[in-house]
């Protein structure tokens, strides 16, 4: 064949070979076209998210507390960043950035073939006015690009006074004590209602399609019928139970009452349904700064404060005399006669093992109400008589305290979480030693059991709504649980009367308002005169001094007397005004001030808060 006609043979071979190639092209372009079309698109077209605005957060009266606003992230296109880039000016506008790191990154990306056009993102939210100022000096920032995003805008100072409710800060350490000692360097991670209701608030981000070339340069949006832009869906709005006006007022009280800055928490709620009207934590922090990028100096300034990230409302503290209400409820429910009278003139100073001991030195020290005669339970509650409760332990330990203490604390919600809609709620620390010697302290709330302010609020709500446990909450649309724990009516009215008496003549009398019924109980937890590992008081002498003394067993009581006594002050009560009820828990943390007690500062604050509530109510009804 080949020998006969070279021309035809060669042509034949050429055509065969070219046909083979044509077949291969046909296979790629027609048969497998769809597959390669998709592959080619995926290489060029990149999906980019469009951020969705979060839902708005309103207060109970419909006032917008947290809104959205436009902010900007900045990006650097490495290829366009030139030597005249003014890093110093960048730091001036954007706080909290590390220029050395940025420089390194830019120069390394610049050398890479496929990354030199890829913008490097920096997640520092910048507000519009700053961006405008930077744009005027854009020649100092070659290669700087802004991308707009949504960020939160806080009205009525809620970024400071409501920061723990809106955005809880997760703390590294488990216990609050450690958190105080260690400087906290982390910044908000979820938390608060923003985190709890994130699924409602967040919305669905949209998608857009942009064309990118091999070196990562954005060539604008893709226009065609293969992919369509998906618009973002904004999140649902949330209405809180917070009354922002009360919140602001109470925060101010915390900051300036009696010309002092107080630490602690104040919670105001509606006892009937558990709605929290105000929830103040002090010291607080500024969420906005946290979101927009906080500078190192501002952060260290924050760390100078006493644990500003700690959400005190849901962390356990020594309860003080507040717990006497719980003890009384238990006593009455378990058959203790409320009219039983004990002598308070016995000058018991303390207990040793399981019996009460008389002061050996004959030094006068009775209950802090200075009773010289016998008292009943009602008076013991209203005037907060420690000796009376010691006596109840002394005579009823086996019958009532030992079998029932824990179960009643559990019934009243002290052994479990309240399920408030905040993350990281801590459980109360109910020491499980039920020996008589422990029970002396437990019955009056000193030394042993710790409860969280929100649990105390729950207990007050229980009394205020005649024996129903309600779930404290912030979301107005939440179906909060409400269940009876089966208290006798007589018990409730007894306790209510005793608390009323406390306001009229007893320890809480400074919170009294004419023509209004207020029922309350105060408490003062003594933390000791020096700081050791377990109790957290702060002496004027340094820790080491007292620890050394303590080790050698030579702590001199006399020497201690001159040192300031550190105390937590509590106030827990509720006000009835017409059909309306409002419950209040004040917890003031650690101060050695003379006025730091349930009966003084806490009660005075309570009066101011109740008055404000009444004024607001009347003003609004008009």
């Amino acid at each position: 064949m080949i020998g006969l006609n070279k021309r035809s043979a060669t042509l034949f071979a050429i055509i065969i070979l070219f046909s083979g190639i044509l077949y291969k092209f046909f296979y790629l372009q027609v048969v497998e076209h769809e597959k390669f079309r998709e592959r080619a698109f995926n290489r060029v077209v990149r999906k980019l998210p469009i951020s969705a605005p979060r839902g708005i957060i309103k207060d109970r009266n419909g006032i917008v507390i947290v809104d959205n606003t436009n902010a900007y992230d900045f990006q650097l296109v490495p290829y366009d960043v030139k030597d005249n880039f003014n890093y110093k000016l960048l730091v001036h506008y954007v706080s909290g950035i590390d220029t050395a790191k940025i420089k390194d990154k830019v120069s390394s990306y610049k050398k890479s073939f496929d990354k030199k056009f890829t913008p490097i993102e920096f997640k520092n939210k910048i507000i519009k006015t700053t961006v405008d100022a930077m744009k005027e000096q854009i020649e100092s920032f070659p290669g700087l690009v802004f991308s707009d995003i949504y960020t939160r805008k806080y009205n009525y100072n809620s970024n400071i006074n409501l920061s723990h409710v809106l955005s809880e800060v997760k703390i590294h350490r488990e216990t609050n004590f450690d958190a105080r000692k260690n400087k906290i360097t982390i910044v908000p991670e979820g938390g608060g209602v923003e985190a709890v209701y994130d699924y409602k608030l967040k919305g669905i981000p949209g998608l857009k399609y942009h064309l990118f070339d091999a070196s990562g340069r954005d060539n604008g949006p893709y226009i065609g019928d293969l992919y369509k832009v998906k618009e973002p869906a904004s999140g649902q709005d949330i209405t809180l139970t917070i009354d922002i006006e009360l919140q602001e007022f109470i925060y101010q009280i915390m900051q300036e009452f009696d010309q002092k800055k107080h630490e602690g928490t104040i919670i105001l709620s509606n006892p009937n349904n558990g709605e929290i009207l105000a929830y103040v934590n002090s010291p607080s922090f500024d969420i906005e700064k946290m979101l927009m990028g906080i500078s190192q100096s501002e952060l260290s300034e924050l760390n100078q404060l006493n644990a500003p990230f700690l959400n005190r409302g849901i962390n356990p503290y020594l309860s003080g005399s507040i717990i006497k209400i719980a003890s009384s409820i238990m006593l009455l429910e378990e058959g203790f006669d409320g009219n039983t009278i004990y002598d308070c003139n016995e000058r018991y100073i303390t207990h040793k093992r399981d019996t009460l001991v008389l002061d050996s030195k004959d030094k006068y020290r009775s209950c802090h109400a200075n009773h010289k005669d016998s008292v009943s339970l009602k008076k013991a509650i209203s005037e907060s008589c420690n000796v009376y409760f010691w006596n109840t332990v002394k005579y009823n330990y086996k019958k009532i305290y030992r079998p029932n203490w824990y179960s009643w604390m559990k019934k009243m919600g002290f052994s479990s979480l309240t399920n408030i809609d905040l993350l990281y709620e801590k459980e109360a620390d109910l020491n499980s030693h039920f020996a008589k010697s422990h029970m002396f302290n437990k019955s009056i709330g000193q030394g042993e059991s710790k409860v969280t302010p929100i649990q105390v609020l729950q207990m007050i709500n229980l009394i205020a709504n005649d024996g129903f446990l309600v779930q404290p909450h912030f979301n107005k649309d939440l179906n909060a649980y409400k269940q009876s724990i089966g208290l006798k009516n007589s018990t409730i009215s007894f306790i209510q009367d005793a608390m009323k008496e406390a306001v009229q003549t007893g320890t809480a009398k400074k919170s009294r308002i004419n023509d209004v019924v207020i029922r309350a109980k105060t408490g003062t937890a003594e933390l000791g005169r020096y700081k050791d590992m377990n109790n957290n008081g702060r002496g004027s002498k340094d820790d080491k001094y007292w620890l050394d003394k303590n080790k050698n067993g030579k702590v001199d009581e006399e020497e201690m007397v001159g040192e300031p006594q550190y105390k937590n002050a509590w106030y827990a009560g509720y006000m009835e005004y017409g059909k309306d009820k409002v419950s209040l828990v004040i917890f003031l943390e650690e101060s050695s001030d003379q006025k730091q007690s349930g009966g003084l500062w806490a009660s005075e604050m309570a009066q101011k808060i109740f008055e404000k509530y009444l004024i607001l109510k009347e003003f609004r009804s008009e």
């Binding site: 021309r7 092209f25 790629l28 372009q29 027609v30 497998e32 076209h33 390669f36 079309r37």
Partner: protein, 429 residues
């Protein structure tokens, strides 16, 4: 002096153009210009560069039309000397671009291996046309291979595998047209084919690629049987059975070297290229990036293409060097299968007339010149298309007249001028 010029230049020559040869080339050049201008706006400056090359090429074509074929014939052996000189010069003084030393810097970048194809064909045509007839085919093949191997070794050192393979391959069509029997050529290169097959088999065993190895085993058996059968059929009663056995055993023994060879290249960039060629999907982000880009561009083009200037992959630089070696992919993306079909029809038309004229050519030297040039073109067209469509592994080989490129384009112009001159001068329709 004027004597010398008269020796070189034929002033009596009246240029004639064979439209059937030149029109397909003009089509390719226009396609080249259009693709350069519109594929990627950022690279459209190449369009103006290419216009300069085309003008220079045109001038060269006119000039070389006047060169006497006799002069070329007389100096053909010297041409080989010049070629060797240039290649050795490049080996020592060449400029290094992209890790390969292929260019001589003479004010402009000049690639000796491109113009060398021309010189090599001059030499080979004279060598084969003057060789006495009646010699043993195998001896002719062996003698021809020596100069070709020297040149392709020098080019391989640059390194430039594609071009060095072209040097080796163009001698076979020339051998066949000079009278060597096809079967003898086939038998001569059969160990190479066996080696390649066994080499593929090594890759399959090593799990580097996902292909069915038994399939290749069967193919190999068929190949060996085919050699044996054709030998037997051809030489039937005249050839000893031992001769057949020898050839088959050479084929088999050579396959045993593959393991050694594979260990030799393991870890080098050859290895990566081969693996990428055999299983492009698996290595699509590293070694096989280029071929996958090419696949995507071609495949996404579809039947009618995306239209001029809408080639996404070329526009967004997803396909490196689309303007030279992979310009067919750019064409396929923008004009689709239809464009490729037109391209191949154009090529077939070109070769049809070239071979038709070739067959009528009576001068052995001139005929072999055309055969040499035609095979250079054919191998460039064919291998480039194979590379772009993933049939062959990726080596740098431009597409004549369609790819952007300087020396390469000029060489092709000179070749076209000589072919046109021979055909228009000596062959009348």
């Amino acid at each position: 002096m004027s004597e010398l010029i008269k020796k070189i230049i034929d002033f009596d020559y009246r240029p004639k153009i064979k439209p059937s040869l030149v029109i397909p080339i003009i089509v390719l050049v226009i396609a080249n210009l259009v693709l350069l201008k519109y594929s990627n706006i950022e690279k459209s400056f190449l369009f103006y560069d290419q216009i300069q090359w085309i003008l220079i090429g045109f001038i060269l074509m006119v000039v070389f039309s006047y060169v006497r074929i006799d002069f070329i014939f007389q100096n053909s052996y010297k041409a080989y000397g010049v070629l060797l000189f240039l290649l050795i010069l490049t080996l020592f003084f060449g400029s290094v671009i992209n890790n390969s030393q292929r260019w001589l810097s003479l004010g402009f970048m000049f690639q000796p291996s491109e113009i060398g194809k021309l010189l090599f064909v001059f030499f080979m045509a004279k060598f084969l046309s003057t060789a006495p007839k009646g010699r043993n085919d195998f001896i002719v093949i062996l003698i021809t291979l020596i100069p070709a191997l020297i040149v392709s070794f020098l080019i391989l050192r640059q390194p430039d595998l594609g071009t060095s393979v072209v040097y080796l391959f163009i001698i076979f069509p020339m051998l066949i047209w000079s009278g060597v029997k096809v079967l003898n050529v086939l038998i001569f290169i059969s160990p190479l084919i066996s080696f390649l097959m066994a080499f593929l088999y090594e890759f399959m065993k090593s799990d580097l690629i996902a292909l069915n190895e038994s399939l290749f085993f069967i193919l190999f058996s068929i190949w060996i049987l085919f050699i044996g059968y054709t030998l037997f059929k051809r030489y039937g009663g005249h050839i000893s059975i031992y001769y057949i056995a020898l050839i088959i055993s050479v084929n088999l023994i050579i396959t045993m070297l593959t393991k050694f060879f594979m260990n030799k290249i393991d870890g080098t960039y050859w290895f990566e290229r081969i693996v990428a060629y055999l299983d492009p999907l698996k290595y699509k982000n590293d070694f096989a990036y280029q071929i996958n880009s090419s696949y995507d561009a071609i495949g996404s083009g579809g039947f009618w293409g995306k239209g001029l200037g809408n080639g996404m992959l070329t526009e967004f630089k997803m396909m490196p060097i689309y303007e030279s070696d992979f310009i067919v992919a750019a064409l396929a993306e923008q004009f689709g299968f239809f464009g490729i079909f037109i391209l191949i029809v154009t090529l077939c038309y070109f070769f049809y007339w070239l071979i038709t004229y070739l067959d009528k050519c009576l001068n052995r030297y001139e005929q072999l010149l055309i055969v040499g040039f035609a095979s250079i073109w054919f191998f460039h067209f064919f291998i480039n298309l194979c590379i772009v469509s993933g049939i062959f592994p990726v080596t740098g080989l431009p597409f004549p007249f369609l790819s952007y490129g300087g020396t390469h384009f000029l060489t092709n112009c000179i070749m076209l001028a000589i072919v046109n001159k021979i055909i228009s001068l000596h062959i009348s329709n």
